[in-house]
Symmetry: C2
Subunit: 303 residues, 2 copies
């Protein structure tokens, strides 16, 4: 079934202790699409300015990312500048220039409105709601993500989104912030009370925790020695998850677990290079390779 994703498409300047990337392809919608495209076609919804390099559009199309829902409007593309310090866990936003993203009003093409899977990526919750309302039929699976900024500035709207989604992808710190509790299991339960049937708490280098009312699942991050640029890891994780799950015959517990592992290993490649660079050479077989390796790293036999 088809997969629609809305999110930001940006030009990122990223500084880490080793190197600097200027105006590199970024944004939540981009990372999500590049990751998901290993599994399914992605119908992207977003906006860029006239300054957005055409080569990226060509690349996206080649990767099976449909751009009918991408608006190209007058003005500068959304730009973000961030810096990582030595330990790669602390990110500082140095500059944020919304550009054409400031007035973004997503409009879904007709061909998107019957999609079975919808990912509401990191954009203002009011726009996430708007996208959901434009669907002719409620998709079989709706997932959303958010960022700290919207929790602080428009929690009420975010709560409205949460009421209407099946899966909420959320960072550990955001889960604590929204729920008001420190314990992640309790936080996850409280988040489920807000609407989502499933909460996926992303813990960065510590992996992730999936919770439903009746079962839990936990996966470590794929063990990596060289984390070059963590930007986009969370969106790539959601992309791997949603990309895989949108292709299964029947959504079952087993398939959801596999989706979580595919999210994990797809994201593990993202952080090995700046921007979506790693995906430019990465093959599906390598993703499957780490899937199998992660099985070895986590599985044990009963006594």
């Amino acid at each position: 079934m088809s997969l629609v994703a809305v999110g930001s498409i940006a030009l990122d300047t990223v500084i880490n202790p080793f190197k600097k990337a200027v105006d590199a392809l970024g944004g939540s919608g981009t990372y999500f699409s590049y990751a998901a495209s290993y599994f399914n076609k992605v119908k992207l919804v977003g906006v860029v300015g006239k300054d957005f390099p055409g080569k990226y559009l060509i690349e996206m199309k080649k990767r099976n990312v449909e751009l009918t829902g991408l608006e190209i409007v007058k003005g500068p593309t959304f730009r973000w500048t961030g810096e990582y310090k030595f330990d790669m866990n602390v990110r500082e936003t140095k500059n944020l220039a919304l550009g054409v993203f400031a007035d973004f009003k997503p409009v879904l093409p007709e061909s998107y409105k019957k999609a079975g899977y919808l990912f509401l990526g990191n954009i203002h919750p009011a726009l996430q709601l708007d996208v959901l309302k434009q669907m002719y039929v409620r998709p079989a699976l709706v997932a959303c993500d958010t960022i700290d900024f919207y929790i602080k500035t428009d929690l009420q709207k975010l709560l409205k989104v949460l009421k209407r989604v099946d899966i909420f992808f959320v960072n550990d710190s955001e889960a604590r912030e929204i729920s008001g509790v420190s314990n992640l299991i309790t936080a996850g339960k409280k988040l489920m009370q807000l609407g989502p049937k499933m909460v996926v708490i992303k813990k960065g280098e510590h992996g992730c925790l999936l919770m439903t009312s009746s079962w839990k699942f936990s996966a470590p991050a794929y063990p990596l020695e060289n984390v070059f640029d963590p930007t986009g890891a969370g969106d790539s994780f959601a992309g791997g998850f949603m990309g895989y799950i949108s292709t299964v015959k029947k959504i079952s517990k087993d398939e959801i677990k596999r989706a979580l592992i595919f999210g994990t290993v797809t994201a593990s490649y993202c952080v090995e290079d700046f921007s979506v660079n790693r995906y430019r050479t990465l093959k599906k077989a390598q993703i499957v390779g780490r899937f199998k390796e992660l099985k070895k790293i986590t599985h044990f036999e009963n006594i």
Copy 2:
């Protein structure tokens, strides 16, 4: 094969946001022994003062903890006072009174000196070395733990210990401190270069990571909503691990993985109450129950 453990035996005063425990049974050797005793007999080496309550000695004996190596000397038992704040991840040592522990010189009884398994718990690295030297034959498996304090005050002695052990149980922050690197995989590799064939990095609520030169294994913490008192979790983890592994016919990769899971789930009970209280009612079958549950939480099927 028999299991010898050396560590502190203390009377702890623990304050958390809900309650306070005064002069409760604690210490690394104690937690280790209580946890390991679910799997094997433990030959404990340690020291207490004359003020140490006899009821605890009776309880230890009943739990299959041999006390031939426990010295009872004039003076006060080691006392530690700590406080946990609301989020349970930050511990503050309020008071430390070494008492008889200050002049502790472990002396191994003859019956201990041929043990096949040795755990060098949290005591000064010079004393850990001393215990190892007293063994008639080098045990089949030697593991050690340490604390931040000895890394800061006597790293050279600790490095001598590391040269001679098979397994190093270490916190993530300590692993980073000793290795000087932030990435845990790289840190683990550097620690292995110091001697241990196996490094087990304990990450608290994020579980643990086991590394050898040829394979890795990762386990999440058992998901708990109510963490009442994290004191002793690391020692209980090592206790479950060493207790189990000391009973297997042949130490294999599969058995080591099982040992790590037994360490994880045995420790998960420790934190549910003050001191070793939870172990006073806990049955082996409950440990096995969480072992099986953790399998459900982490296992997934290949595509």
